[in-house]
């Protein structure tokens, strides 16, 4: 567990007192947490608790009314999503958001979009630099295809793939970005036991081998408790508890939130 040495190094992500409301509905209400380097941080909570909204704030899709988000030492609130992505924030979506008409290969190559440096003219003429960079990118993408075991699907348009494979492709696209922080929104939702175990292994490998910190949202309590270093529990947009899986599980407020009787 990486929890012990946390205070010494600066956090990768620091969220302070973030609040977001939609026409009166408070989706997030005073949420604060930090993610340490190589930490596996989980966010859990009942339906509508605001987990996806937190991700949308982090990746720049929603702009919160209050609070600050510091990623790698820089304030990111108000930055457009593509700038935050270029800083190294990658995410997957609760409902797979792939580019459906493109192949697995093209979806992964798109993850590398901001790693390319060549421009439109070089693209039209396919001059040296465009060719060189595309080949280098392809080699990196092939590593990810290997890692996630996607070789069999390489040239298939993703819309034709089974749901579980699509989830894996989406993870691959996020990895292709070479992220400094990875946000996974319900990566095992709708998966069978075997697929869930595969995904859990991938998530652990990403953290352990690639050293990329991960923020994980999931309803699969067993998975979250097994994998996470620390857990944040949300209910109606408010933080209910924050601590190691064992601490959180013992917390009476958490039990109450999950049984429906919010404090």
């Amino acid at each position: 567990m990486t929890g012990g040495a946390r205070e010494a190094v600066p956090p990768v992500l620091k969220v302070e007192d973030v609040g977001l409301a939609f026409a009166g509905v408070k989706a997030i209400d005073g949420v604060s947490f930090e993610v340490a380097p190589a930490e596996l941080f989980a966010v859990i909570g009942p339906n509508g608790a605001g987990k996806t909204s937190v991700f949308n704030v982090l990746s720049g899709v929603y702009r919160p009314q209050r609070g600050t988000v510091t990623f790698l030492g820089e304030d990111v609130i108000g930055r457009p999503p593509h700038r935050i992505a270029a800083m190294g924030l990658a995410r997957t979506f609760q409902n797979v958001e792939l580019f459906h008409n493109l192949t697995v290969l093209d979806n992964l190559m798109l993850g590398r979009h901001h790693h390319f440096g060549y421009g439109p003219l070089q693209a039209l003429l396919w001059l040296g630099r465009a060719r060189r960079e595309e080949l280098a990118a392809r080699a990196r993408v092939e590593d990810i295809i290997d890692f996630l075991d996607l070789a069999a699907w390489r040239r298939h348009p993703v819309r034709l793939l089974p749901y579980g494979v699509q989830k894996r492709v989406e993870l691959g696209r996020a990895l292709a970005m070479e992220p400094r922080l990875l946000l996974l929104d319900e990566p095992v939702a709708g998966m069978n036991l075997e697929e869930t175990e595969d995904m859990a292994r991938f998530v652990l490998d990403i953290r352990d081998e690639l050293g990329v910190p991960v923020v994980l949202v999931d309803h699969d309590m067993g998975l979250v408790m097994d994998l996470a270093d620390r857990v944040l529990v949300l209910d109606f947009g408010r933080p209910v508890a924050l601590g190691t899986p064992a601490e959180v599980q013992r917390d009476p407020k958490v039990v109450a939130a999950y049984l429906g009787g919010a404090p």
Binding site: P81, L105, L110, A123, R132, E134
Partner: protein
Amino acid sequence: MTERTGQVGVRPGVRPDSGPGGPGAVRARRPKGRPLLYTAYAQDMALLDTRAKKAGLALLLGAAVLLSGLPDDLLVLLAAGYVAAIGAIGLNIVTGYAGQVSLGHAFFVAVGAYTAAAVSGDPGGRTLGFGITSMLVWLPAAGAAAALAGVLVAPLAARLRGLYLAIVTLGLVFLGEHVFKEWDHLTGGPGVGRPAAVPELFGFRFDADSALGTRAQSLYMLMLVLLVVFAVAARNLARSRIGRAFSAIRDRDIAAEVIGVPLTRYKTLAFAISSGYAGCAGALMYTVTGFFDPGSFNLLMSVQFIAMVLIGGVATVSGAIAGALFVTLLPRITQELPALLPFVSADTTQTPNVFQIQVALYGLLIVLFLVFEPRGLFGIWIRARAYWKSWPFSY
């Protein structure tokens, strides 16, 4: 991009190392009899990745060159088809790849046509002209002017989607029609028109009979070569980071932004490149007839370009070419109708006449293709290929 999804890739055996030799330094040969085994990514990512494709294209180009032996009136028609194909490839970039429906293509074609005509026009003539007849000047100028117009229009695309964008770009055509009709000094005015750009390259006039062939033959070969250049460039674009980003925006714009594609910049780029193609097509279009009228750049022209893309196949370069040839050659076929069907008149004052039938046919074909074969002629070709590949076990 979607053109290659049908085949099953075999794992490349050799990794191009990214060391000093650079990726792609490995030039591997494909073992005989294993057309789908790639031994280097460079091979896998090539435009023509199988021998069958190379042979097919060579055959097609050979046939196109041989066609230059056709009678002159047919050559002129085909040359016009090739130019239209350049325009259709352009529309396909913004509408097919990037998913931004534009009905304003005729406007950008007009910008290109007038830029080229003005640059190469006679300085002492009735209409505006700067007397620079070299294609090397007026063709890029036409492309650049139209691309600039595209950039100016693009902010609309950043704010509007689907039908709204279609309607606003339609407004552009009406606006252009009005401006071009009023601006006599540039356009010559409605019903009169002005001379088109002069197709001259290093002193050689393509619009005159020469030792190399008739006027029609020269123009035909010129347009064929230019079409090949523009088509290859578009294929390159499609397989590049930029083409991928366009498709990403079309398929899922939020996700595209979240993985790092700046939406506004790429929509602008799509409009710029697409309009640049339209501008070049416009510049070339009237070198064949030699003269053009401001009334040409109307809604029908935009609809014809949409028809070319939809009939040929969305988001494929070869489809846009096929669609353009189909739509250009269609009037030639409907012209024969009065001879075959006595109730169809060749006279525009009567109903039903050939022109009405033409317009109705475009509409009907668009609807039929959208309903039965959304991938257009390209889709039919894919199916035909699949049929022969699996023959005699077809279904």
